[in-house]
């Protein structure tokens, strides 16, 4: 009896061994440069996929010692030879690739010239050393690609979305590579772009919402690199010269300050080529000093008079850090308090019960340091005090009493079950991947999301809320008459 049991087992393992040898042989044949991975790596890799392990043919046996594969989304990570980290997620069924190249060169790096990083971003679309603005844009747009350049507080991002066909993608990569390393930066284009930015700055301040945002950041982050709109200030923009842009490029747009994130229906070998073409020609440089901690300050209320029908109210303070140990309790707490769509306390009390505002929310914004917790709402002038009282009561109650058990359960269910929906397109996958990579969130937390949220307790939220959302540090900005 025993013998009978053993025999088929041996047969099975023999079959597996034969299969492995065959696979290895094929691998060696087709990928001669490849160091054969140990079996454990193969098993680990396969376990990452929830569906089809061979979704991208030929990919399965490639990870080498310098390249890691993480989690649910099968994130591939390696560094280019000049040290730029590359993150890649293969996706299926659509011939699309999304690419983000970023630099730690956001408006926090503007220095004494607020607006410099956004001007830098715009100047990247003004032609290259060998192509005029018109020729460059005509070629790029003729390929049917979508592209976008922007500066945020923490980064400057160049985004490209292309069809994967090499006849479209390859020339697009050449063009983006040229704008990164050899942008024209001519005086004529600079003068024009600078004027556009100044007009744009004046335009957005027609909106009371933007006036409130500007004052909020000026107040919360006074004398800190986050203390102005990413667009800059009018005086800052006026003061910028072309040489400043050139210096900024030299200081920040270099390999040691870059990150490349790619998702799409494309083979990893091609991604390696793309990565090399995009960033290996970037010059070297020094990593900038990290952005410093944001100090809290005494609570205050600031009124900005403006002729409007509504008051815009921003209430908040710096809270979130990079890799914040309190992240999950803060996330769930904020969801219950003011973020959960149609279910938050702010929504229920300010909008559903009283009809005082169309949009009333609290946000927990991620920044390198001191990302703000901020409540925003807008209401007709005469209701300002009423709305303000309600929000302040909600805020102090939440700190004292914490969430109700059913609120906590609803928030957890929503956050957990929504997670797969938040990565249901190629673009969303790439955006999320970028966020993880740029803010150095452990890639493993892609998988741990559910567990981490599940673990959050009422007591934890209450404790963290009391400790981190400090009413004595709240800055209140009210724009209106």
């Amino acid at each position: 009896m025993q013998y009978l049991y053993v025999k088929p087992k041996r047969n099975k393992s023999l079959w597996i061994i034969t299969a492995l040898i065959t696979i290895s042989f094929i691998a060696i044949l087709f990928f001669p440069e490849l160091k054969l991975p140990i079996l454990q790596d193969i098993r680990l890799f396969f376990s990452q996929f929830d569906k089809d392990p061979l979704a991208v043919p030929g990919l399965a046996i490639q990870p080498t010692d310098t390249e890691k594969v993480h989690g649910l989304l099968s994130v591939h990570q390696w560094d280019t030879k000049n040290g730029v980290p590359v993150y890649f997620v293969p996706t299926e069924n659509l011939p699309i690739v999304d690419i983000k190249i970023s630099f730690d060169a956001g408006s926090a790096r503007d220095g004494t010239k607020p607006g410099l990083s956004t001007l830098m971003a715009s100047m990247l679309l003004e032609g290259t050393e060998s192509l005029s603005e018109d020729a460059f844009l005509e070629q790029l747009e003729g390929l049917g690609v979508q592209y976008h350049v922007e500066a945020n507080r923490d980064n400057l991002i160049i985004e490209l979305r292309s069809l994967t066909n090499p006849n479209l993608l390859n020339p697009a990569i050449e063009l983006i590579s040229a704008l990164l390393t050899r942008p024209a930066l001519t005086q004529g284009a600079f003068e024009r772009v600078k004027r556009q930015h100044i007009v744009n700055y004046q335009e957005i301040l027609e909106l009371p919402r933007k006036v409130a945002e500007k004052k909020f950041y000026e107040t919360v982050y006074a004398n800190h690199p986050y203390g102005h709109l990413t667009l800059g200030t009018e005086a800052g923009l006026e003061s910028i010269e072309l040489q400043d842009v050139k210096d900024f490029k030299k200081q920040y747009l270099h390999a040691q300050n870059a990150l490349l994130v790619i998702s799409g229906g494309i083979h990893r070998d091609r991604v390696k080529d793309i990565a090399n073409k995009l960033v290996t020609h970037l010059p070297g440089g020094n990593k900038p000093e990290p952005i410093i901690f944001v100090p809290s300050k005494e609570a205050q209320i600031i009124n900005i008079p403006l002729k409007t029908t509504q008051s815009h109210i921003w209430i908040g303070e710096p809270v979130l850090r990079e890799n914040d140990p309190d992240y999950y309790p803060l996330l769930v707490g904020n969801h219950i308090f003011g973020k959960g769509q149609f279910t938050s306390r702010l929504f229920k009390e300010v909008r559903a019960k009283k009809g005082l505002a169309y949009s009333v929310k609290s946000h927990l914004k991620r920044l390198k340091v001191g990302g703000p917790f901020v409540i925003t709402l807008q209401t007709e002038q005469k209701q300002t005090q009423l709305a303000l009282n309600i929000v302040q009561d909600l805020l102090s109650n939440f700190g004292k009493e914490g969430p109700q058990p059913e609120e906590l359960e609803l928030a957890k269910q929503n956050l957990i079950k929504h997670f797969p929906l938040s990565i249901n397109t190629n673009k969303k996958i790439n955006d999320k991947l970028f966020n993880y990579a740029f803010y150095h969130l452990p890639m493993a937390s892609f998988n741990e999301h559910t567990a981490k949220i599940q673990q959050v307790t009422k007591e934890q939220i209450q404790e963290v809320w009391k400790r981190r959302i400090n009413l004595h540090h709240m800055q209140t900005v009210i724009v209106g008459e």
Binding site: L163, V199, P305, Q310, K348, H418, I423
Partner: protein
Amino acid sequence: MIKHFFYGLIAIFISNIAWSAPTTHSYILENGLKIIVREDNRSLSVSSQIWYKVGSAYEPRGLTGISHALEHMMFQGTPSVPSQIFFNSIAEKGGKQNAFTTKDYTAYYQTINANELELIFKLEADRMAHLNFPEFAIMQELGVVKEERRLRTDDNPKRLAYERFNMNAFMGGPYSHPVVGWMRDLNNLKIQDLERWYKTWYAPNNAVVVVAGNVKAESVLKLAQQYFGPITPNAHDYKALASVEEEPVGERHMVVRLQAKVPHLYLGYNVPSLKAKTTSKEIYALKLLEVALGKGRSSRFNKMLVRGEELATSVHTHYQPFTLYPTLLEVSACPAPNVKLEKVEAAIIKQINLLKEELIENDELQRIKNRVIANRIFARDSLFYQASELASLEAVGLPWELSQQYENDIQAIDAKTLQEVAIKYLEPNRLTVTYLLPIEEEIREID
């Protein structure tokens, strides 16, 4: 010549990729409800949408904004599902939901795990037939709607000027009032008006359900039969809306002075929509004119006005051909500092006239076609987009199948057609121009 060959080649690359045609099925239930299913199993999720064929274009004088206000009321609950239960039951499944109202339709949508489609159908069927209209809710919800109007329009000089531009461009027609409605009408709106509006327009035979995602068409149909099937159709004759092409009445100029910081220019030509035209050619030619003139940084306005002559800091164009009534090809522009709006307007007209006088080169034509077609492939990344594209056609009485021949219709337009259409429609008698000028008064220091 070489260039032309180059972009032509790119067109071949793009069209080869374009359609591994997605599988789409459609059905009509006995009560008249149309069901469209797009099977796309790239993710585990689904976009479920229900579109009612009613929007601000349907509203009579004095009841402007009622369609949008009713959209808000649709979240007020039913006898069996009170409002907060409605919100919570979708939230606890990880779903996201919302709604929007336009001139032509009102749409409700959810993104949720495909397994939860039954829940969505149950909720949507319930609120299609049994919505509550409690007197107290209107006070609260109309408060919210008015705050929305203040936020989006009243405190936003550009939107306010644009609202007035539309009054002038549509000359009292169904598109001349804003979707959100005039404040005076919102102030007078009664709960009985809303209930009557609901009973008139919210019926299975005036709606279309579109589902895109990880589903099988037959099971969606079965669920639809189960939940929407029992709802009785409305006897109302929904075909009554006639779509007439507007005659070119003459050039309309308007100056709006508001509390703004920079001047702005709005310009629009009365042009047909696909609904109003038997021949679709003109519509696709207009779409390509929109792109050639103002979509993207390589477009003519950007090349000549923003870069070239540096007269404007931004210029945009807009044309959406799938509407119930004739619509506009719009241009909006922000002048460069110290440049008069008259000068920007003249430069825009000059570019438009160039398209009438000279045939567009094949190279440029191919480039803009490439962009239009590639953008549609990109959009297929989103389930929401896929569903709403199908629904937006059906909701204005066009067959969803049109979306599948869009590429061919675009490719078929030649330079000659483009020129003819420009000559026919981009002419002064169809033109409306609005200047937004900042009020010349001391603007209070905000710092």
